[in-house]
Each structure stands twice: as C-alpha cells, then as structure tokens.
C-alpha cells in the first residue's frame, strides 16, 4: 500500500502529532525528574513512543519496512532500562556493602 492520502492521512497525521506531543510531555518529566527513577521511567516511555511513532509513520508513508526498526528498538530499549535499574540497585547495594547479599 502506498502513502496515505485523504482522510486516513489526516487521521494518521493527527496521531503523529499526538504522539510527539506525548513525547514532549515525557521529556518534560525526564528533565524535571526529580529523581533518577522518574527519568528512567520517562526514557523507557520515550522508547515506546518512538516505537509508536514509527508504526504510525510506517502507515502514513506507506513503508511497512519501518516495522523492523521498531522491532529492533523494542528489543534493545528494555536493555537500557535494565542497565539503569541495575545502577539504581547498585546504589542501595553500595550502601549495604557490609551485609551479605541474598544470592
């Protein structure tokens, strides 16, 4: 299917705008924090929003190949969040260094 036109295109464009607006809100949260977990949650959501953006954009421009991109992002975004979670955990572990760990 080729590029959308007419009403569907209008709708899809509106979706795109909504997604980027939501992206903006998320980034505001990311910048405002106030704590690291807030930012990490925001970044995690930014990845979802990026996935959504690509899906809508794929439809809008008639290029389903973009689906692959979103798949890759979904695959790795999780890793980023895991890394942050590890970091946060590390903070509390560092605090409790003396106590033996449960595993």
């Amino acid at each position: 299917m080729a590029e959308l036109s007419g009403a569907p295109a209008w709708f899809a464009s509106a979706c795109l705008i909504a997604i980027v607006l939501s992206l903006v809100m998320t980034v505001i949260r990311l910048l405002r924090g106030p704590t690291l977990p807030d930012r990490v949650v925001s970044l995690d959501l930014v990845a979802y929003q990026a996935v959504a953006f690509m899906l809508v954009y794929a439809v809008l421009t008639g290029q389903p190949a973009f689906l692959d991109v979103s798949l890759v992002l979904a695959l790795v975004a999780f890793l980023g969040t895991v890394a942050f979670a590890r970091y946060i955990e590390h903070l509390s572990v560092a605090e409790e260094e003396a106590a033996p760990m449960s595993d």
């Binding site: 190949a65 692959d68 991109v69 798949l71 890759v72 695959l75 790795v76 890793l79 895991v82 590890r86 955990e89 590390h90 572990v93 595993d103």
Partner: protein
C-alpha cells in the same frame, strides 16, 4: 533468547534486500548473549558460546577479508562482488562479507560484556531478571 538470535540471523540475511545487515544482526545477537550473561553469569554464557569473543572477532575479520580476496583468484579485484547462483539461491561474496561483519560484531559486544563483568564483578549485580 533463541528467538532474538533467530531474529538476528534474519536481520543479517535480509540486509541485502531490506533493512538490516551484518552489523545490526550482529548487535542483536550480541545483545542476546549479553542478556544471557547478565541473567545467568558470564561463565555459562561463555559456555553457551563455545568460542571466545576474541576468536569470533578474528574469524569475522578473516571471513570478511577472505570474501574480499576470493575474487582475486578469479582474476577479479579486491572486494569485487562475486555471485554464485544455484537455482534460485544466490550466494555472493557480499553476503559472506556481511557474515564476517556479523560474527565480528557479536564478538565485540561480548568482549565488552564479558571483560567488564569479569574485571569487576560488581558491575552486573547478579539477579534473576527472569525472562
């Protein structure tokens, strides 16, 4: 994990025709091994791999170079595309080249994960991030 690996091979092979390629495929594969290492420790991940990341990288570069050199034997030039069509199957040196890239990138991803982890085990606190 097997799924992501499969996906990575898929990315590798499709690269020439659609989006993807050895680099992206290799990274995805590397990531899945890395996940495995994070979840179950580098020792078992190394065991699963059966080759050191360094060997993977060396072999990857070797394959890439080999794919470049192969056409020379037929009087061609370095890195010339050489395709063997076998029925509908098309295998060419560019694909072989991409396979080299794929292996090398896996090796890179893993060497980072393994070495960082083994150098300072605190970096990846072991936990059951169960999948």
């Amino acid at each position: 994990m097997p799924l992501t690996l499969l996906f990575s091979v898929f990315l590798l092979l499709r690269g020439h025709n659609e989006t993807g390629g050895g680099f992206i495929g290799g990274l995805v594969a590397g990531i899945s091994f890395a996940l495995y290492a994070i979840a179950y420790g580098t020792a078992s991940s190394r065991e699963a791999l059966r080759a050191t990341p360094q060997q993977l990288m060396a072999v990857g570069l070797g394959i890439a170079v080999l794919s470049g050199v192969l056409p020379l034997f037929g009087g061609g030039t370095l890195l010339e595309g050489l395709w063997v069509k076998w029925g509908a199957l098309k295998v060419g040196t560019p694909v072989l080249f991409d396979v080299g890239v794929y292996l090398l990138v896996i090796g890179l991803a893993l060497v980072i994960v393994y070495e960082l982890e083994e150098h300072n085990p605190g970096l990846f606190p072991q936990s059951a991030a169960s999948e």
